[in-house]
Subunit: 310 residues, 2 copies
């Protein structure tokens, strides 16, 4: 009998995912009935993103796992009706996209690209800039995305410090953890990248006190979650020059409202939540692998710990 997989995500996503998912299920040797309208009591698995038809998981009495389409699950774990096992998306394509965004913007700041891209006075001014080896970078968060970014920035020559909630070890990266480790990680950083999961503990992790620890004229890159930043504190640090420039991809409200001060701030680049995204072909393989695992009685990949929140 076919495994019934319900797809519940915002409009337009089913059209993107239907064919890749069907192919991935077939490649995994699974017979799957994939649809947007299975009855709750007949649904075996849910492929899920917030904003689709499902918001109350209680009727899904036989559903064995909910598989998220996105890496961040902070708006899912707070749903009290969701008691089924929940897996986050950790997608190779998403990881590579994030690495490209973070490495690109780190190098952009490092070599001072903006002054050449926008140079209305046609100034020809040669300044010796430091090498990456003299530009310390700190990454908050060493999950799949943060660790991949840390590794690439280290390969590019930057001295990289990474911070995570629990202790980690990565080649060529100074790994710190805990509250004291957070203070040390921020101290003197010239570029800081936010990739920690959003939890009650990490909300506003980049507040006025944290910003004060960065090197004067530091750069901030936030491809993680908007609420990791205390926006008022960042605007003040940008105003004083304490922070030289920020590139922000995520915001408390998205799309970023038209009247938000970030839009026209001369020291802010807004990117429209493009740093990384789930890519249907690679994500579908992760989902199919988890269905295969559940059917075989094997542990699921990327299972979310509800207490931790990610």
């Amino acid at each position: 009998m076919a495994i019934k997989v319900l797809f519940s995500a915002p409009d337009g996503q089913f059209a993107r995912y239907r064919a890749p998912l069907s192919q991935a299920f077939e490649a995994a040797g699974l017979t799957v009935d994939l649809a947007e309208d299975h009855a709750p009591e007949e649904t075996d698995f849910i492929v899920f993103a917030p904003g689709g038809q499902v918001s109350d998981f209680r009727p899904f009495t036989r559903t064995r796992a909910v598989m998220g389409l996105w890496a961040g699950v902070e708006s899912i774990v707070t749903n009290r009706t969701l008691t089924q096992p929940l897996a986050r998306m950790v997608d190779h394509g998403m990881t590579r996209g994030m690495v490209e965004y973070v490495a690109g913007h780190a190098l952009r700041y490092h070599i001072g690209m903006d002054g050449h891209i926008v140079n209305p006075d046609h100034e020809w001014a040669h300044r010796t800039t430091p090498l990456a080896a003299d530009r310390p970078v700190t990454i908050l968060g060493l999950g799949a995305l943060g660790a991949a970014c840390a590794e690439t920035l280290a390969q590019l020559g930057f001295p990289v410090t990474g911070w995570s909630r629990s202790p980690k070890t990565l080649d060529n990266v100074t790994c710190l953890s805990g509250q004291d480790g957070l203070h040390r990680a921020l101290e003197g950083a010239q570029i800081v990248v936010l990739l920690v999961p959003l939890t009650a503990e990490t909300e506003n992790v980049l507040d006025a006190a944290a910003l004060a620890r960065l090197a004067p004229g530091a750069f901030v890159i936030n491809p993680g979650r908007g609420a990791l930043i205390d926006d008022d504190a960042l605007l003040e640090a940008l105003g004083s020059g304490r922070v030289a420039h920020a590139t922000l991809d995520v915001f408390r409200t998205e799309p970023l409202p038209a009247d938000h001060p970030y839009w026209s701030h001369p020291r802010v680049t807004v990117t429209p939540h493009v740093a990384s995204e789930t890519r249907p072909v690679t994500a579908a393989r992760v989902i199919a692998e988890n269905v295969r695992r559940a059917e075989a009685g094997e542990p699921l990949l990327h299972l979310v710990d509800r207490d931790r929140g990610y």
Copy 2:
């Protein structure tokens, strides 16, 4: 007796190099008399960049080697009075600077940064962009600089093709050589990086025919030498959209003249010959090592082949 090393370079360079050179000679165990005014017939070695006091090398009858400060020697090898051994500069700091410039601008084009850096209408438009794995990059030139850039771009996930005059082998890089190899290297490239030495054979290597081989909407990055590009052909390709954008660091005349069309072209970024530069501390070590080698009767590093021209 002290080894007499003459420093001949444009104004201001001696102030930058004097202390690093003295330290490097001392660290190499050499007793050196470093000055800008040794008599030609008493000079053992010359540290040289075009534009200083020396242009006629014939009076330097006991000079055992001329050690260039720059990587490019096309304006030195054509000096018929220079018959002494000539070494190019291959400096670790210069190589890393070049890698940072090339990787930064390649990622800038790849993720479409410019549209976010300059976004006067505050457009919030999410577009799925390809991953680096789907963006073929071609590097012309696989010397110390080109090879290091090729390796880093491959680590970032780009499929990299490199072309050089003589056959080379590099891990994770498709290496081509010869005229036929050049055609294949350019075919369908979405980003092309120019790092070949400038010789009679490579002048205008990026001409109309070469540009026509690139993928439509390709990006050009030239941190090599200005004369590698047929400027009229590039302007035409930019005008037609055949080439989407070019970042140019080097020009036939530098500084780039105020009335040059590149300055105000909407599809050109001019950088003022900053892609890479010799850095006194690391370069001084290379020069000291070559003096040590000459004193010990060992072969010099980075010796220029006058026939080849680099």
